[in-house]
């Protein structure tokens, strides 16, 4: 089995910066990334075959991504990037099992840096399983990176500034955006927006988005959310309404609009499958997106030698991810003897300073756009919650009423979370439902225990003897 000093899992900003920094310190690194090219979700590259003349026109993120990837390319001899590598399991002794193409491979790492990222928060409403309902993240990827329009008449529903960016990109690409529904109240949203964008250096870009939306006469309805989606085999209409402070529908305010696509963008959930497999201790923080691996100021988890950086350690944006990646790499290199304590301290001073400023601000952002429970309280009984096993809200509620209050117990009885996604979709929803029904805070709802393979694994990937 191949042995490396540091294995980094995830090729977004956190993973890239961790790899570059570790290489600068002289360590040998393997970077495992699921995607065909580096960049992660935020810095996703255009697919092969696209020629880019002026990167600036693809937005600030694209340029930033190019900068980081170039930085990494300078350390080619120290960093082996394995693209298209799907990590499906970790085993004792920091053994990492992954599929590369259709082949099963394994490596043993002295130190592990997890940069698993995050995924779009699933928020169920009647009709959310109809073709035509997609997540905001998926829509953004389609229009930005794949250059595909997800629909012709779209309704955006969710929370946070990313919706404005998505709306503007869709309008630019020629789609009709009938409205953007922002669940938080008018005051909160518009008051904090300029500060938010400014801190990320996105003020100019942000105003361009807003101008673009105004020009196309796209209404931004604060204090609104989608109630239901209807259609015969696909999305044809959406019902939306005003919501109260807890994001619960105010009845009597419902309106119906004809659309073919709904983009649901309620922020992100940290990916913690691998940190859970490693056995790291996790805690619940609504402003960070839910369950996250506990870690010290050097991003080291409760399992020695295992680090967690970027969105999987709490949703706080790409800039935080990048700095955390560097910090984890410095600490790992110190542990490996590649840096003295003094060198490590010197190297981390400026990173820590930048990180402090960023995290203070990003956690304020997280609090502002954190999910409220009203959306989950009103899910009708017949709505499907576990999409893999097709388990409804009603089935889950009766299990809770029978006294089952942990995710694993509910899974055992209802099968919710037993499918191929291993609860990635339904776990957060079920936690909210348990919390609502029992009155206990979500942090007391014991999360699910993932088992390898965390991604479906073809049995035939093991060569026959």
């Amino acid at each position: 089995m191949k042995e490396v000093e540091i294995a980094i899992i995830g090729g977004g900003p956190g993973g890239i910066c961790a790899a570059a920094e570790a290489a600068k310190c002289g360590a040998h690194v393997v970077l495992l990334d699921e995607n065909p090219g580096l960049g992660g979700q935020i810095y996703r590259r255009l697919p092969g075959g696209f020629a880019v003349r002026d990167e600036g026109r693809l937005g600030k993120d694209y340029v930033e991504g190019t900068k980081l990837i170039r930085e990494l390319e300078q350390h080619k001899e120290k960093v082996e990037v394995i693209s298209g590598a799907v990590v499906w399991g970790v085993f004792p002794g920091n053994e990492i099992a992954f599929l590369s193409g259709d082949r099963n491979e394994r490596l043993k790492a002295n130190r592990v840096i997890l940069a698993e990222g995050a995924y779009d928060r699933p928020v169920p409403f009647p009709g959310w399983t109809l073709p035509g309902v997609i997540t905001g993240g998926a829509a953004l990827r389609m229009v930005k990176a794949e250059r595909i329009l997800p629909g012709e008449r779209l309704l955006l529903a969710g929370t946070g500034p990313l919706q404005l960016a998505l709306g503007a990109h869709l309008v630019q690409a020629g789609a009709k955006v009938v409205a953007i529904l922002e669940a938080s109240s008018r005051g909160a949203f518009w008051k904090h927006l300029p500060k938010l964008l400014g801190e990320r250096g996105l003020l100019k870009e942000g105003f361009n988005y807003i101008r673009e939306l105004q020009r196309a006469k796209v209404p931004v309805l604060t204090g609104h959310a989608v109630v239901a989606v209807q259609g015969d085999g696909e999305v044809q209409r959406a019902v939306y309404a005003r919501v109260d402070n807890n994001w619960k529908t105010i009845s009597g305010t419902e309106k119906t609009v004809e659309v073919d696509t709904i983009c649901s963008g309620y922020g992100l959930v940290p990916s913690t499958r691998l940190s859970r497999l490693f056995g790291c201790k996790h805690s619940w923080d609504r402003s960070l997106g839910g369950w996250v691996s506990e870690h010290d100021s050097y991003a080291e988890t409760t399992i020695q030698g295992v680090f967690t950086v970027g969105e999987c350690a709490g949703v706080r944006g790409a800039l935080v991810a990048a700095e955390e990646g560097r910090l984890a790499a410095i600490r790992a290199c110190q542990q490996l003897g590649r840096l003295s304590e003094d060198e490590a301290r010197r190297k981390s001073v400026s990173v820590v300073k930048r990180l402090k400023k960023l995290t203070g601000f990003e956690s304020a952002l997280g609090k502002m756009f954190a999910m409220r429970s009203g959306l989950f309280a009103q899910i009708p009984d017949e709505t499907v919650i576990c999409r893999c096993e097709e388990i409804t809200a009603g089935e889950i509620r009766s299990a809770i009423a029978e006294g089952l209050t942990s995710i694993d117990e509910i899974k055992a009885v209802t099968h919710a979370g037993m499918g191929p996604c291993q609860g990635r979709i339904c776990e957060t929803i079920v936690s909210e439902m348990v919390s609502i029904q029992t009155g206990r805070p979500p942090e007391e709802v014991r999360p699910h225990t993932p088992r390898p393979p965390v991604k479906p694994l073809v049995l035939g990937s093991f060569a026959q003897e």
Partner: protein, 382 residues
């Protein structure tokens, strides 16, 4: 939680919940305590086989048959995904037919009259996806499968319905004995006065035994299992091989045995096994087991490769094994009111409810319908 009861059942697996159910149904005052959630031990992590073919004729087989009756009865009100669909023991060599003949004869006369040898053609008619190197099988029409977790929750629900109290998150920390009689049970949530305590703690039965100075020789054997995505129609009934393969790890230490088995749930998930070893109380799964199970599954069921079937989960179960592979059931010498109900060894889902029923009879009637002498703890004294 009550502070006084007649019987405390320790353990929320299949044996504990079934015992609580039968006791409550007989009108007894019962409190069941489980330190974690219900069905967290071997009753959660197993392949769902309800298998009685291998029980020795006599009391052991009768416990199995009582279990089948219990499942039939429980199925009237609960969907435990129980099917008496038959079970297959696969033969890869001609010798196995001959070797198994006496084994089959004695069982045919002891309640398993439906046991039947199948040649390759007969087997392929039942299971067309099996590879041609499998030469035949032994079919027991009484064997079958169940969703083990649903089964536990069904017995728990019925126990509650009959007035039993079930408490999770309650851990027993001590047992008070006075003049050779059980007086009370100390838990992290307080003391419960009781006349009886039933030790249905499965793998943790020795811990409870130790509290009253008993040595319970129960060990762990890990079995690793893979679960596939839904692919209905691959196997019609649970099956496993009569032969196994020993793999010694590099360096000659550790090592494990591999024995193919397959079962398919109602939804179409395949439960594939299995790799056995003795790592102690460890529930993690290993890369080597993934490799071994995947290879064996494809060797026996080549269609899994053709269809690119994917594994979506793995887990490890414990065989809770005793030196003579028999359960430990019934009273213990010198401590009035302390009842053993653990150590079911392999195929626990094929014995648990039957054991619960006889333990209940032992307490309520003084005399169980199936003699338990051969299962007493004292048999290990020498």
């Amino acid at each position: 939680m009550k502070q006084e009861t007649e019987i405390v059942v320790a353990g929320g697996g299949i044996t504990g919940t079934a015992t609580a159910y039968y006791l409550a149904k007989a009108g007894k005052d019962v409190v069941l305590v489980e330190r974690g959630d219900l069905t967290r031990g071997s009753s959660a992590a197993n392949a769902g086989f309800v298998w009685i073919t291998y029980r020795a004729p006599g009391p052991a087989l009768r416990l199995g048959l009582a279990t089948l009756d219990s499942y039939d009865e429980m199925s009237k009100n609960h969907d435990m995904e129980y099917e008496k669909c038959g079970g297959l023991t696969l033969f890869e060599t001609e010798n196995l037919f001959k070797d198994m003949a006496p084994f089959v004869d004695v069982r045919k006369n002891a309640g398993l009259s439906g046991l039947k040898f199948l040649d390759r053609n007969g087997l392929l008619q039942l299971e067309p996806h099996l590879a041609p190197f499998v030469l035949g099988a032994l079919l027991n029409p009484l064997d079958g499968h169940i969703n083990p977790m649903r089964a536990v929750y069904a017995y728990a629900a019925e126990a509650r319905k009959h007035g039993a109290q079930l408490h999770t998150g309650v851990e027993i920390t001590g047992i008070n004995i006075e003049k050779g009689h059980v007086k009370s049970v100390i838990t992290n949530k307080g003391e419960i006065k009781t006349k009886y305590i039933v030790n249905a703690c499965g793998a943790h039965a020795p811990v409870l035994g130790k509290m009253v100075g008993l040595k319970v020789p129960i060990g762990f054997q890990r079995e690793q299992i893979l679960v596939s995505e839904e692919v209905p129609g691959i196997v019609g009934r649970p099956m496993f091989t009569a032969s196994y393969k020993k793999t010694v790890q590099q360096g000659g230490v550790g090592g494990f045995t591999t024995a193919f088995f397959a079962n398919q749930t109602k939804k179409g998930n395949l439960i594939l096994g299995g790799v056995n070893d003795f790592p102690g109380e460890v529930t993690s799964t290993t890369f080597e087991a993934f490799e071994a199970i995947s290879r064996e599954a494809i060797r026996y069921l080549p269609i899994l490769k053709t269809l690119s079937v994917r594994a979506i989960r793995s887990f490890a179960k414990f065989y809770i094994h005793t030196p003579d592979a028999l359960p430990v059931l019934g009273k213990v010498k010198g401590i009035e009111g302390f009842i053993m109900a653990s150590g079911l060894n392999d195929f626990g889902m094929g014995v648990g409810p039957g054991a619960g029923k006889v333990i209940s009879e032992l307490i309520c009637l003084g005399e169980p319908s199936i003699p338990l002498d051969g299962f007493s703890l004292s048999r290990f004294e020498n």
